[in-house]
């Protein structure tokens, strides 16, 4: 039975979006959600997702974005590179707010403004390609705002932000590989509170997601 028909016949049924807010956001990649603490990206904390260009970090972040939007929540994307393209985001699930700052300080400022408003449940700061890294002081301020807003802040970067990133609750590394079975996205769980580091391999769509 289609979900809409089910809801029409039984209007009292809840969907995931109606239930009390969880402490995490599911990424929509079941294999990854199973190994993440509390089955998702933590709300109220910073998650760092790093990997070199074309490593698959954008794929993972867009999967998370899509999953948040399809649950009727607000999501924003701070696009420092100016290359955001909404592939795999049908209009029926809503659109993210895209903010295109010209440089890193303004990207951090925009992220701070978004978190401070307490309206966006997911803020993705795509700082890929930026030669500079976010300073620990900036991370500290963003971490406090994310906690107050109960929002998930996901930072995309080519390299890990810093070795002493105490403000980062979860650090994931993405790596794209070719195998005889097809293209695979390997995601390494490098740092997670109360969780052992591990790695999962996710097959990528054979269609390739053409724009």
């Amino acid at each position: 039975m289609a979900s809409v028909a089910l809801l029409q016949r039984h209007p009292h049924l809840s969907r995931a979006s109606d239930l009390p807010p969880p402490r995490t956001l599911a990424t929509g990649i079941a294999a990854l959600d199973r190994v993440l603490p509390n089955q998702g990206i933590p709300l109220g904390h910073i998650t760092e997702l790093h990997g070199p260009a074309s490593s698959g970090k954008l794929t993972l972040a867009q999967s998370l974005l899509r999953n948040v939007l399809r649950h009727g929540r607000l999501a924003a994307w701070v696009d420092l590179t100016g290359t955001f393209y909404p592939v795999g985001l049908p209009e029926s699930i809503g659109a993210p707010l895209i903010v295109r700052p010209p440089n890193l300080p303004l990207a951090l400022k925009a992220t701070h403004i978004l978190l401070h408003s307490r309206q966006w449940e997911l803020v993705v700061a795509d700082l890929s390609g930026s030669p500079k890294l976010a300073s620990p002081q900036a991370l500290q301020r963003l971490s406090i705002e994310a906690k107050e807003a109960r929002a998930a802040l996901v930072i995309l970067h080519d390299h890990p932000t810093c070795n002493l990133g105490i403000w980062i609750a979860l650090r994931l590394q993405a790596r794209r590989c070719l195998s005889p079975q097809g293209r695979i996205l390997r995601i390494a769980l490098e740092k997670a509170r109360g969780q052992r580091t591990t790695e999962v391999a996710v097959p990528l769509s054979p269609e390739g997601g053409r724009p």
Binding site: M1, A2, S3, G28, Q62
Partner: protein, 503 residues
């Protein structure tokens, strides 16, 4: 195909007691059933069990083993009410909920996985809602009631693959079956300890030896349990009650308490998908006087605020001879909530705060830097997205009901993500070497260079001859190191361009 979910609360009677008395969690507790000399222990807390007490012991025996044990008389009606309360909570997750025993619920889970990320997510939500009520529980989904029940013994959350009920539960003990003591003893004496061994027995011999009961057990062990769910029926109308710590006097205090009562009442209605046509407010005064006020909204409502205003308006005409000690709001007539009323239950987006944020962002970065993508029909790939100012999107967001939206389920359910792409605007020139057929075999862009593992294409796109003509051969190229890009050969002006980098 049927899909039945089973939710089993662990040690339900003790869990119910501890839910009401959380400060006694560390004390050894023994629940008693029966009266007088026939009293026996029917449930034990973990610490009492570890100290050596067992179900079925007499209180005197238990006291001899563990003098510090606390005996509590089991309250059957309170327990039943609690299971009904939990069943009402679970009704948000299924069209049919059956209370099958103490802390044991069966739910019709057919199609429910579509409302969540997957069926595991559904089970996780079932467990989470009970855990929020201080009830640790296990949950499983299977093709039949018994298989689902048995599967709760396999893991905290377990999904039995469709058609694999028999194999999934084969290693579990036959003691899970509703066996009579004589049949249980007979099976164990014959060495048939698991459901798998029982399921493998031939029908005729089982029937000859154990009769009809044996055949029924055989079917259950094989995962064949056609018995339907017996949905729980509400015995109580939606009611909210508040007993105050002390007598309440004064308008402001009553307004506050009434608001809380209306919220609770509407929350109960919403969990059943109902709207209030007519309700009654009962006030008990300190002098034992009882006042009844009828609340009749003009139309069926799910608004706690409307009920609150009606109650306040009615109270203005009442002269309360003494302070209020208890309040009760009971529904008299209800009707199903209309779809347009459902958004009232949704988490609201503070539109004003969102607009203030947009204004701040636009002031800091400029109007062109705060945008929302919108797909449009266009031939040229870079023109397929139009960037719009975000204000209009927020107007839509405010009105949109998430329950009405179609789900983007396909690829997400399969757990195979669509690859994200960074679109280069404008396309960047790049160096590509081709083979004799003109297909790329080596490529270099700013980030990566080297031989290619594969090149899919070409996909020829051309058009717009009336304005800015283009003619391109697009390829999806994969470097041997794993990177992937979307490139094209400009057939009009020559040269290779990087149009998108998969990341």
């Amino acid at each position: 195909m049927r899909r039945i979910a089973c939710v089993r609360i662990l040690n339900p009677l003790i869990a119910h007691f501890l839910q009401r008395n959380p400060n006694q969690r560390r004390q050894p507790i023994a629940l008693l059933k029966g009266t007088g000399r026939t009293q026996t222990i029917c449930a034990l807390s973990r610490s009492a069990f570890e100290a050596g007490l067992r179900v079925g012991m007499l209180p005197q025996q238990a006291e001899a083993v563990l003098p510090t044990v606390r005996f509590v008389l089991s309250d059957a009606s309170a327990t039943q009410q609690e299971w009904e309360r939990l069943a009402i909570l679970l009704e948000r997750f299924s069209p049919s909920v059956e209370i099958a025993g103490h802390g044991l619920f069966y739910l019709d889970a057919h199609g429910m996985g579509r409302l969540y990320t997957d069926i595991r997510d559904y089970l996780a939500h079932l467990r989470a809602i009970l855990l929020a009520e201080s009830y640790p529980a296990r949950a499983a989904v299977a093709g039949s009631r018994f298989s689902a029940f048995a599967a709760t013994y396999l893991a905290e959350s377990y999904v039995v693959t469709q058609g694999k009920d028999r194999q999934s539960i084969a290693r579990l003990s036959v003691r899970l079956l509703p066996l009579s003591p004589s049949l249980a003893d007979a099976l164990l004496a014959l060495g048939i300890q698991t459901l798998g061994k029982l399921a493998a027995l031939p029908d005729g011999q089982v029937e000859a030896r154990f009769g009809r009961e044996g055949i029924e057990m055989l079917r259950l062990a094989r995962g064949e349990d056609p018995s339907p769910l017996r949905p729980f029926r509400h015995t109580q109308p939606p009611t909210a009650e508040l007993t105050l710590d002390g007598p309440l006097e004064g308008g402001e205090a009553i307004r506050f308490v009434l608001s809380h009562l209306c919220d609770r009442f509407i929350s109960q209605l919403s969990s059943r998908g109902l709207a209030c046509d007519q309700a009654r407010l009962y006030l008990r005064l300190e002098n034992h006087e009882k006042i009844t006020i009828a609340l009749r909204p003009a139309a069926a409502t799910v608004s706690a605020r409307l009920l609150w205003h009606l109650a306040l308006a009615a109270l203005e005409h009442e002269r309360l001879a003494a302070p209020v000690v208890a309040l009760r709001l009971e529904s008299v007539q209800t009707s199903p909530a209309a779809p347009e009323q459902k958004p009232l239950f949704m988490r609201a987006i503070d539109n004003e705060a969102a607009h203030v944020t947009l204004a701040k962002l636009q002031a800091a970065l400029g109007d062109d830097a705060v945008l929302v993508p919108k797909r449009i029909a266009a031939y040229r790939p870079e023109n397929r997205i139009r960037w719009e100012p975000p204000e209009r999107t927020f107007e839509k967001t405010k009105l949109r009901d998430p329950n009405e939206k179609p789900h983007d389920l396909g690829e997400v359910r399969a757990g195979i993500p669509s690859e994200g792409i960074r679109l280069c605007m404008p396309p960047l020139p790049m160096a590509i070497r081709t083979d004799t057929m003109g297909r790329p075999v080596w490529a270099q862009c700013a980030w990566v260079w080297g031989p290619l593992a594969q090149a899919e294409g070409p996909e020829r796109l051309s058009g717009e001859w009336w304005s800015y003509p283009y003619d391109r051969d697009y390829y999806l190229i994969d470097w041997t190191t794993g990177e992937r890009a979307w490139v094209f050969l400009d057939r009009l002006h020559g040269g290779w361009y990087l149009h998108g980098l998969y990341d």
